[in-house]
Symmetry: C2
Subunit: 260 residues, 2 copies
DNA sequence: GATTGCTGTCCGATATACCAGACAAAACCT
DNA sequence: AGGTTTTGTCTGGTATATCGGACAGCAATC
């Protein structure tokens, strides 16, 4: 899935055709990965697609409201229809809806930042979050996505996989933490396997040096990890404080799980 | 903008082919309109598309996470990817973001239900809402969409259009109110034209007999109505109460507008 | 002001995605 | 049970959507 489409494309010449729908999905994934509006003229290179195709696709998707093009510098991004459609998912998905209100309740009760997370291919996505009341916030925005090795939730979300599957899923760049330290893949795999069946997983100092993450699984009908809830805490909370928070968190996880 | 181009399309023959991307967009619109998961097997009839095409499209979209298929009875609905993509829109769209927090502020300040609305083809969509503190709530859910003639916001959102455009946009069934009364299209057009340039529009007893709607426009750079904010109030608030609410609402509208 | 590069639009050829229809399996009837 | 309908999968042929490339309009550079 990486962008390999360099010069050598001339060799095969003919067989480069692709369905419109596939181009569309690639485009969506690319925009989501970039996280900011992209100039239409840059898309053909970025996606390895012909210019005429891209312009046509963008035109159709814009008319449908799935994308929006900013008037002045012709940058595309997700449109209102995508938002409205996505809201349906949120409203109708029992797990997400219950998890979100649980996250809010947790944060209001404890004053700490909590998040509801799911696996999205090779990223951990934040479905919902509620900021804590601490003066210094350590929170992420809804919709942001992290490399899995950065978080405690990530270890839980991969806990049902085999080492081979994990190795296949994790890209080399995912192992690089924000401060440039590199996570050892073998150690990471061991941590994921160890997370299986655990009621809570804690990571300290991964995303930054001054926070820690407490995550619990939300289990589906067959015991699989559907999602996680986590607290993002300062690294220096006392053991007593953490013990209380753990208890709340584990209770919430149980409450949302279909399976003990 | 309708697909009228094929003049000679002989009555029966093969001219029924359509692009995958168009099928996909139709499918999305249909699911959104239905508002609940739909059985895959029903889609071909509902969309007028060949079965093999639908099954293929659903497969691809499901793999990409744009749709989800419930395991037991094979119903499709919007998937997590749609939600995550849509969140990007929410996060990055300045108007929506500012409007949403304004709506929350308005509701917290006044205790009334307020909503942020935009035009979505021939529907008025609720982008964000915050319930009031009244014992009896009259609120809609985020993402729900109404026929334009039902609301005060709708009159503002169409106020820049010509009578012909309005006539073209409004479907006959949009004119039927929830209680079966029918809105007169000519009168509605007059109301839309009258809304042009107005700082506030009020409708009473349209969606139901016990509520009224106060809406103000959010104007873009060229004076066009980009969105509206509105209060949903009981029909029997006093004139003094309404005067105060109007003032707040108009102030919020001005604050979010690019243009006086 | 000539040159170069970039952007967006348009058009014809052809590779292929869509469609019709056959088939199997399950569900639903008498 | 036996027949009928519904559901999901698969395959080959053909209408057509995609792609390459040409073109015109701008902008930037020399």
């Amino acid at each position: 899935m990486n962008e390999q489409g360099t010069v050598s494309a001339s060799v095969v010449s003919g067989g480069n055709r692709e369905r419109g729908i596939d181009r569309v999905l690639t485009l969506f994934a690319y925009l989501n990965g970039r996280g900011r509006p992209v100039r239409v003229a840059d898309l053909p290179k970025a996606l390895g697609a012909p210019r005429s195709t891209i312009y046509e696709i963008v035109r159709v998707l814009t008319e449908a409201g799935m994308l929006e093009v900013s008037g002045d510098d012709n940058r595309v991004y997700f449109g209102r229809a995508m938002y409205l459609y996505g809201i349906n998912y949120f409203r109708d998905n029992e797990l997400i809806r219950r998890g979100s209100s649980e996250v809010e309740a947790l944060s209001k009760m404890t004053g700490e930042t909590s998040e509801l997370c799911v696996l999205n291919r090779n990223r951990q996505a934040i479905i919902h979050t509620h900021p804590g009341s601490r003066p210094m916030r350590i929170s992420s925005e809804v919709g942001s996505q992290f490399p899995i090795p950065w978080t405690a939730s990530g270890r839980l979300l991969l806990s049902h996989m085999t080492p081979a599957e994990i190795r296949d899923l994790i890209e080399p760049e995912d192992l690089v933490l924000p401060d440039r330290r590199v996570v050892d893949i073998e150690g990471f795999i061991v941590e994921c396997l160890a997370a299986r069946g655990k009621s809570i997983v804690i990571t300290r100092g991964l995303i930054n040096s001054f926070s820690q993450c407490l995550a619990v699984p939300i289990l589906g009908m067959h015991g699989e990890v559907q999602a996680t809830i986590c607290f993002v805490l300062p690294i220096d909370v006392t053991d007593e404080q953490r013990a209380v928070l753990q208890e709340h968190l584990i209770a919430s996880g149980r409450k949302l799980s279909m399976h003990e």
